[in-house]
């Protein structure tokens, strides 16, 4: 049975694996306009030096990430993809975004941490799987992380 999808959400953490995920998504869909790239930022820490003394705000952060997302989409041949930047817990935000945009598929790379890193860091992919409203395709890691 062929997999028919019209809206794919790809979470982006700007790792090499994110770029690979865009490439895979483009193989599935017909046009980049069906692609949604989302980056979830951590909540701003009100006691960080950048907030207390510098000019870091959610607006400045969103601008920077949007620029980086645009560049990544362009570099990966996905110009025209929808770009989204949100604040919160990555797994939940991604699932929530997919729900709001009635996505058919979430395509997410797994960093596949092992041992200590796995024990302490947990996994965004795991949380997306638990909360996703649609099918989830988890890409296996290809590097040696």
């Amino acid at each position: 049975m062929a997999l028919h999808v019209s809206t794919v959400v790809v979470p982006i953490d700007f790792s090499i694996a994110s770029a690979d995920a865009i490439e895979t998504a483009l193989e599935i869909i017909d046009s980049p306009s069906q692609l949604h790239l989302i980056h979830v930022m951590l909540p701003l820490e009100t006691m960080s030096p950048g907030v207390l003394l510098g000019d870091i705000t959610d607006v400045s952060r969103t601008e920077k990430v949007t620029t980086a997302l645009k560049k990544l989409a362009y570099d990966q041949g996905a110009d025209g993809a929808h770009l989204a930047v949100t604040v919160g817990t990555p797994g939940l935000e991604i699932a929530d975004y997919a729900k709001r945009h009635e996505a058919d598929l979430i395509l997410i790379p797994s960093h596949g941490y092992h041992g200590m890193k796995r024990l302490f860091l947990g996994s965004v992919a795991e949380r997306v799987l638990r909360h996703a409203p649609c099918r989830v395709l988890v890409l296996r890691r290809t590097d040696n992380e």
């Binding site: 009100t46 006691m47 030096p49 207390l52 870091i56 952060r61 920077k64 817990t89 200590m116 302490f120």
Partner: protein, 527 residues
């Protein structure tokens, strides 16, 4: 509930169980005391309940601290009572200073030029300017350590301790340079422009680069992070809350339950920023801190000018008693250890905490931020601590029993000459304590995130525990609080200095390259 918050709860559950095991004999003792009290049929009013609760919390806290001290303040040579960690700090600072060829002296002028903004490129990656990074780091280090800590050093180590404080302040400059440069080299700049850096990162990545296996490098990072969390509850929190409460008690009198009330108010005010997200309060405080430092130093200078005749005698007393100390202060070693402990507690050189703040600087030259960081211990210890010490000595507060100890001794010393100054001192104490707590909550949270992850739940667990420690600090006694704070903050130096020495060749190479370009006038000047 996420797995990370479960891990946080599990971690603290273990801590509470361990604590509970330690407390069992005490709890039993209290039970039997209660029986005696009941038999004699004494009714307790609210005041005594409050007092006994504070006392029992303090006593239980004292037992935990005592057990930890046995391990962390271990003295390797029985004949010479120097705790291992003080030895490591001392030797580490000396090593960095010699290894980087007295950069604290030869790089001083250039460090000031950088801080003035001569080389600030607004397009460099990072969050804040060099000057702001220094202000941020200073708001964490300039605190009650400079006002109360110096008085404690003189009270327990005699006037001679001041010399050792100054010396370790000067040597600590290069230790600070080494760690802040490393923090810059191994920081992560996120796509949103924020920065994540500090010893836990340079220990984990840097040590692997030097050929250490991942588990060893990660263990260094984890040990540092654990002590950093402890430090954020101790020196960065309880000590500040304790001495700020002491200052309020000195001002308003010994009103029953005031420590509980003031501790709760402090916790609420810190909570407004770190949980409530009201950044304006923190922003205003951070901006007032340099002004308060200025006022404090100015008032100190006024007192010294008024007592100018006594200053030479005070200087002679300090120099003489650093090498021929009175037995009351524990002999030569006692004075040395006190001086070093209080200096490092105040300027945090070698401890690695400030590296977390300096990593946020806007620059692509790691060495440049290291040079700026070097000014921290100079301002903190060589200028501000020495000022406090001289005022305490020329006013005679150090050998006047009614002057009290800690912050009370410093207040007594200032009020001897400037009767109106205690009011300003109390405001300074409050603001220094407040800004130190906010800055340290950031350090502690970064370390917490390194272990438990960055999820919202994990972070909120840390912040709530942090607020709880503020109240605990307000009700506990100074001795126990100082011991705990020292234990945690000084212990951060174990992984940081050992790792810093292993990674020092990398810093040396960067410094060599930077210095060559600086001498060849290859840098763009922006003013």
């Amino acid at each position: 509930m996420s797995s990370n918050s479960l891990k946080s709860i599990f971690f603290f559950g273990c801590l509470i169980i361990v604590t509970g095991l330690n407390l069992t004999p005490l709890a039993q003792a209290q039970d039997s005391d209660e029986t005696v009290v009941n038999q004699s049929d004494i009714s307790e009013n609210e005041e005594t309940t409050n007092e006994s609760l504070s006392e029992s919390i303090d006593a239980q806290f004292g037992i935990i601290v005592g057990n930890m001290a046995k391990v962390l303040f271990w003295e390797p040579v029985p004949a010479v009572p120097i705790p291992l960690i003080v030895l490591i700090l001392c030797c580490g600072s000396l090593f960095f200073t010699i290894y980087h060829k007295w950069l604290n002296i030869r790089g001083f002028k250039h460090a000031i030029d950088i801080t003035r903004g001569r080389y600030d490129n607004p397009n460099d990656p990072g969050e804040i300017s060099h000057f702001q990074a220094l202000t941020s780091a200073l708001s964490a280090t300039v605190g009650l350590g400079n006002i109360a800590g110096v008085a404690v050093a003189i009270h327990t180590g005699g006037p001679g301790a001041v010399i050792w404080m100054m010396l370790i302040g000067l040597l600590g400059m290069t230790a600070k340079f080494n760690e802040c440069t490393l923090a810059m080299v191994y920081r992560k700049v996120r796509p949103d422009g924020t920065v994540d850096g500090g010893p836990m990162h340079y220990l984990e990545i840097g040590l692997q680069e030097r050929g250490f296996p991942f588990p060893v490098a990660r263990a260094f990072g984890l040990i540092f992070a654990l002590f950093c969390i402890g430090g954020s509850f101790g020196g960065g929190n309880m000590f500040q809350a304790n001495q700020a409460t002491s200052a309020v008690r000195g001002m308003l009198g010994d009103i029953a339950g005031i420590d509980w009330v003031f501790g709760s108010v402090l916790a609420f005010l810190v909570g407004l920023v770190i949980i409530g997200g009201i950044k304006r309060i923190g922003q205003v405080t951070e901006k007032i801190i340099p002004l308060m430092c200025g006022i404090y130093v100015l008032a100190g200078l006024v007192i010294l000018v008024i007592h100018i005749k006594q200053v030479p005698d005070a200087a002679v007393l300090i120099v003489r008693s650093c090498v021929s100390p009175e037995a009351a202060y524990g002999g030569f070693i006692g004075v040395l250890v006190q001086g070093i402990r209080r200096a490092v507690f105040s300027n945090e050189a070698g401890v690695g905490s400030a590296a977390i703040a300096h990593a946020a600087a806007k620059t692509d030259e790691p060495v440049r931020e290291g040079l700026v960081a070097m000014l921290g211990p100079f301002i903190d210890t060589v200028v501000i601590c020495t000022m406090t010490a001289l005022v305490v000595i020329v006013s005679g507060a150090y050998n006047t029993p009614e002057a009290g100890q800690g912050v009370e001794m410093t207040r007594w010393a200032f009020s001897e000459t400037l009767s109106w100054f205690p009011t300003i001192l109390n405001i300074s104490v409050f603001l220094f304590a407040y800004s130190t707590m906010i800055s340290w909550s950031y350090y502690g949270e970064k370390a917490w995130q390194y272990i438990f992850g960055t999820t919202k739940q994990a972070v909120i667990v840390y912040r709530i525990i942090f607020l709880g420690f503020i109240i605990l600090g307000a009700v506990a006694s100074l001795d126990n609080v100082i011991e705990f704070s020292d234990l945690m903050i000084l212990s951060m130096a174990f992984p940081n200095i050992i790792g810093g020495v292993i990674l020092a060749p990398r810093v040396k190479d960067l410094l060599k390259d930077y210095w060559r370009r600086y001498k060849n006038n290859e840098f763009v000047v922006y003013d």
